[in-house]
C-alpha cells in the first residue's frame, strides 16, 4: 500500500507519461482514467521474480482498485541487452503495450498499472518477454473452494439444506444471493421472510438455503452467489429429489431373499429332525421335557438319558 502522497506522485508521473502521447486511452485497463472522474481507487502491487519459462500467479480481487503488476525475469542462456516485452489480457495482446526492455542487473523488468473497476477488468493478464517467458496473473474474485461435485439426494415431502461456505482464509463476501437454473438462465431466488417453501439464512461467510416440502420438480442446479464489490462469484449445488420407491425396490429384493433363506433353513431342519424314525419312541418320564413339535428334542434328550445311564 502506498501512502496517499506517493500515490499522487505516481499518478502524476503516469499522467505525464500519457501526455507524452505514446499511449492511446482505449482498451480495458490501459491507462489511468483522468483524475476528475470517480472516487479514488485503492491500489496494490503484485510483483513476481522468476527464472523459467512461465509461472502462474493468482490474484484475489475484491473491490475496484488500481493494480500494478510487475514481472522480473532473470533471462535465458544468452542475455541480449535489448528484448521486447508486452502485455496480454485474456490471450490478446494489449495495444500499445509493446516496448523494448533493457537488461539491468542481469534482469529484465516489465511493470504496468491496471485499473480494475468492474467485472470486465478481471481476467488473465500476462506479461511476455520476447515470446520466451511469461507470467500469468489470474485476477478473480474469491470463489467457494469446497464444491460438492455430487448431487444432494433428498426425498419428496422432505426438506433439504443447501449451503455454501467461504473459507476463512479468503476474503468474506458482503452478502449472498441464490439462483435457480431455469433452462440456460439463472433465476433469482428471493423468498418472503415467512415463505413456507424457501428460506435463506445468511451468516458471516456462510449461507443456507432451506427448501421444504420438496417435489420432484425441485430437482436441478442451484447457484449460490458470493457478492463482492467487484463481481459475484457463483458456486453450483445440484439437488436431486426422488421418491421412496427407489430405495424400496432393492430393500424388498433383500427382504425377499432373507425370507426365502429362512424358510429353506427352517424347512431343512424340520425334515432332518423328523427323519430318523427308530429314535422317535421315548419313555414317559422324558416326554414331559419335550414339546411335541420340538425338532431337536429327541437328539439331546437321548443324549441326556445316555449320560445318566
Amino acid at each position: 500500500m502506498l501512502h496517499s502522497g506517493v500515490k499522487l506522485c505516481a499518478r502524476l508521473l503516469l499522467l505525464s507519461l500519457s501526455w507524452g502521447g505514446t499511449h492511446s486511452t482505449g482498451g480495458p485497463g490501459s491507462t489511468l482514467p483522468p483524475v476528475v472522474s470517480g472516487p479514488p481507487l485503492s491500489s496494490d502491487v503484485r510483483s513476481v521474480v522468476f527464472k523459467g519459462e512461465s509461472q502462474v500467479e493468482e490474484v484475489q480481487v475484491v473491490r475496484p482498485l488500481t493494480l500494478a503488476l510487475e514481472c522480473t525475469w532473470t533471462g535465458s542462456q544468452d542475455r541480449p541487452h535489448n528484448i521486447s516485452g508486452f502485455w496480454r489480457k485474456d490471450g490478446s495482446e494489449l495495444a500499445d503495450s509493446r516496448r523494448p526492455v533493457l537488461l539491468e542487473n542481469q534482469q529484465y523488468n516489465l511493470r504496468r498499472a491496471f485499473s480494475i473497476t468492474d467485472e470486465e477488468g478481471l481476467g488473465n493478464y500476462s506479461c511476455v518477454f520476447d515470446n520466451q517467458a511469461e507470467v500469468d496473473f489470474i485476477l478473480a474474485a474469491p470463489r467457494v473452494g469446497e464444491v460438492r461435485d455430487k448431487p444432494i439426494v433428498s426425498y419428496v415431502g422432505d426438506s433439504v439444506v443447501l449451503q455454501c461456505k467461504m473459507e476463512d482464509t479468503k476474503p468474506q463476501p458482503n452478502s449472498w444471493t441464490w439462483y435457480r437454473a431455469n433452462g440456460t438462465d439463472k433465476e433469482l431466488l428471493d423468498p418472503e421472510p415467512d415463505s413456507p417453501r424457501y428460506q435463506i439464512h445468511n451468516q458471516e461467510g456462510k449461507t443456507k438455503l432451506t427448501v421444504r416440502n420438496l417435489t420432484e420438480a425441485d430437482s436441478g442446479a442451484y447457484y449460490c452467489g458470493a457478492v463482492y464489490d467487484i463481481s459475484v462469484t457463483l458456486s453450483r449445488v445440484d439437488l436431486r429429489v426422488i421418491t421412496f420407491l427407489e430405495p424400496l425396490k432393492p430393500f424388498l429384493v433383500i427382504v425377499g431373499e432373507v425370507l426365502v433363506l429362512v424358510s429353506l433353513i427352517l424347512l431343512y431342519e424340520r425334515t432332518k429332525a423328523h427323519g430318523p424314525q427308530p429314535d422317535n419312541t421315548l419313555s414317559d418320564d422324558q416326554a414331559h421335557k419335550l414339546t411335541p413339535d420340538d425338532a431337536g428334542g429327541e437328539v439331546t434328550d437321548s443324549s441326556t438319558r445316555q449320560r445318566k445311564v
Partner: protein
C-alpha cells in the same frame, strides 16, 4: 436300552464325519448329539459368524460415511452426530450379558434371530427419522440392543462347536470385520450417492436382516421356556406357601445364574477381564489417530491412508494365521495371547518413532506388524475364556467379558485424544496406547498357573445348588454335550462339562 447303548457306541466312534455322511444317514442325526465336533456343522456356524461379524461390526465401522450427510441434514455439531454410533456401540457392549443370559435361558437360535430382527428394525426406523433424538433411539438403542443379542451368542455357538480348531474357527469367523470394511466403504458411498442417507439406511436395514437366516442355522434345542424350579429338588421355593417373595427370589436366583454373576468373584476371570480391558483401551487408538499422525509427520493423505489400508489387510491375515497357529497346540493359548499383545504394544510404540525418524518404509512395516498382531489377538481373546472359566460358564463369561471390556473401549480413545490435545502431537497418545497393551500383557502373566507348561486344573463349578439348573442353563446353547475340554486338561473337566452343557 440296547438301542441306547448302540447309540452310545455310535457316538463314541463318531469323530468328524464327512459332510455328506451327515445328511445321508437319517439315523446320523440322533447320533449327531455331539454335532460332529470340528465337523461340517461347525464350519457352517463359522460362515454364519462371518456374516454376522460383517453385518454387526463391519457395519458399525463403516457408519462414518453417513457422518457428513447427517451433519448437513440435521445442521448439528459433529459431536452430537457422533453420539449416534457411540450409543450404538455402548448399547451393544453393555447389553452383551443380556444376550448371553437370554441364550442360557432360551434358544440361541431364537435369540440371534430376534437380535437380527431388532437390529434391522432399528435401521429401518432410522430411515424415517425427522430429528436427531429419533436417530439416537433407533440407530443407537434399538440396533445396539439387536447387535448385542447377535454377537456374543454367535461367538459362543461357534466356540461350542469346536475343540481342536476353536481358535482357527473364531479367527476365520472374525475376518468378516476386516473384509467388510473394504467392501462397505465403496458400497456405502455408492448408496449415499444414489439414495441419500434415508434410502441407504433402509437398504442397510434390509441387509442386516440377513442375520436372521444366520441365526436360523443354529440348531434349536429342546428348551423352549426357562425351566421351572422342581418341587423339593432345589433350594428355591419350598412349596407353594412361600408366595410372592420366594418366587421373586427364585427369579433373582435364575437371573444370577443366567448372567453368571458368580464370575464377578472369580479371581482368574477378573484378572483376564482386566487385561482385556487394557487391550481394548489401546486397540482403537491407532485406527483413530494413525492417519492424522501420518499427516502431521508430513506424509501425504494418500500415503497415510495407505498405511491404514495395509494395516487392515494385515489384520485379516493375522486373524486366520494366529487361529491356525494356536490350534497347532505347541504352546498354551495364554502364552500366545501374551506374545501377540506384547508385540502389538511394541509395534504401536515403534510406529510414531519411525515416522519421527522420517522413514516411510519403517512406518509401513511397523503398521503391518501392528495390524497382524492386533488381528491375531482378537482370535485368541474369546478362545481363551473356556480355559479360565470352564465350558459350563463360558456363555455367560463371554457376555460379562464383552460388557466389562467395553469400559476400555469407551475410555481409551477420549483419553488418548486428551493426551494429544495436551501435548500437541500424536506421539504421546500412540505411545500410551502401546503401553496399555504392554501393561495388559503383564497382567496376563499374573494368571494362576501361568508359568506351567500345561493348563491350569479345570475350574470348579460354584458350590451348592443348581447342578441340574446349570445343566439346563448351559444347554440353552446347543443341547449338545460338547466335550468341551480345552487343550491338555484332564478328564475331570470333561465330566464337569458333560453335566453342564447338556
Amino acid at each position: 436300552m440296547i438301542r441306547k447303548t448302540a447309540m452310545a457306541t455310535a457316538r463314541v466312534e463318531q469323530p468328524a464325519r464327512s459332510p455328506g455322511a451327515e445328511r445321508a444317514t437319517p439315523g446320523a442325526l440322533a447320533q449327531d448329539g455331539a454335532l460332529a465336533q470340528d465337523g461340517a456343522r461347525g464350519w457352517v456356524m463359522v460362515g454364519a459368524l462371518f456374516v454376522c461379524s460383517t453385518l454387526v461390526f463391519g457395519l458399525i465401522r463403516s457408519l462414518g460415511a453417513f457422518f457428513v450427510e447427517f451433519v448437513q441434514y440435521f445442521q448439528e455439531s459433529a459431536q452430537a452426530i457422533s453420539w449416534i454410533t457411540s450409543i450404538g456401540v455402548a448399547t451393544q457392549q453393555l447389553c452383551s450379558p443380556l444376550g448371553t443370559a437370554l441364550c442360557n435361558a432360551y434358544d440361541a437360535q431364537r435369540v440371534v434371530m430376534a437380535g437380527g430382527f431388532l437390529a434391522s428394525l432399528g435401521l429401518i426406523l432410522a430411515s424415517q427419522a425427522r430429528s436427531l433424538p429419533h436417530l439416537y433411539l433407533t440407530m443407537g438403542l434399538t440396533s445396539g440392543l439387536g447387535w448385542s443379542l447377535v454377537f456374543t451368542p454367535m461367538v459362543a455357538t461357534v466356540m461350542a462347536h469346536f475343540t481342536r480348531r476353536r481358535t482357527l474357527a473364531l479367527g476365520v469367523g472374525f475376518t468378516g470385520v476386516g473384509v467388510s470394511s473394504f467392501v462397505f466403504a465403496p458400497l456405502f458411498q455408492y448408496m449415499l450417492d444414489n439414495f441419500g442417507w434415508r434410502g441407504s439406511l433402509l437398504i442397510l436395514g434390509g441387509l442386516s436382516l440377513n442375520i436372521v437366516p444366520c441365526g436360523a442355522l443354529i440348531r434349536p434345542t429342546r428348551k423352549k421356556a426357562p425351566p421351572r424350579p422342581k418341587a423339593g429338588g432345589k433350594a428355591d421355593n419350598g412349596g407353594g406357601g412361600g408366595g410372592g417373595a420366594s418366587a421373586f427370589r427364585s427369579l433373582l436366583r435364575r437371573v444370577y445364574r443366567y448372567l453368571e454373576l458368580s464370575l464377578l468373584a472369580h479371581g482368574p476371570f477378573l484378572t483376564y477381564t482386566l487385561a482385556i480391558t487394557f487391550f481394548n483401551a489401546g486397540y482403537f487408538v491407532p485406527y483413530v489417530h494413525l492417519v492424522a499422525h501420518g499427516r502431521q509427520a508430513g506424509y501425504s493423505e494418500y500415503r497415510a491412508a495407505f498405511v491404514m489400508s495395509a494395516t487392515g489387510a494385515a489384520d485379516i491375515v493375522g486373524r486366520v494365521a494366529a487361529g491356525w497357529l494356536t490350534d497347532l497346540g505347541r504352546a498354551r493359548l495364554v502364552h500366545m495371547l501374551t506374545g501377540w499383545t506384547g508385540l502389538t504394544g511394541v509395534f504401536i510404540v515403534l510406529m510414531p518413532l519411525a515416522s519421527v525418524a522420517g522413514s516411510y518404509g519403517l512406518l509401513l512395516g511397523f503398521g503391518l506388524g501392528y495390524g497382524f498382531c492386533a488381528g491375531a489377538l482378537t482370535s485368541l481373546v474369546f478362545a481363551g475364556v473356556p480355559e479360565i472359566v470352564g465350558m459350563g460358564r463360558m456363555v455367560g463369561a463371554l457376555g460379562l467379558l464383552s460388557m466389562l471390556e467395553s469400559v476400555g473401549g469407551l475410555l481409551g480413545p477420549p483419553l488418548s485424544g486428551y493426551l494429544r490435545d495436551r501435548t500437541g502431537s500424536y506421539i504421546t497418545s500412540l505411545v500410551a496406547a502401546g503401553c496399555c497393551f504392554l501393561l495388559g500383557s503383564l497382567i496376563l502373566t499374573t494368571l494362576p498357573h501361568y508359568f506351567s507348561w500345561t493348563g491350569p486344573p479345570p475350574p470348579r463349578p460354584p458350590d451348592g445348588d443348581g447342578q441340574e439348573e446349570r445343566q439346563d442353563a448351559g444347554a440353552g446353547l446347543l443341547g449338545s454335550p460338547a466335550s468341551g475340554s480345552t487343550n491338555g486338561t484332564a478328564s475331570k473337566d470333561s465330566d464337569h462339562s458333560q453335566t453342564c452343557l447338556a
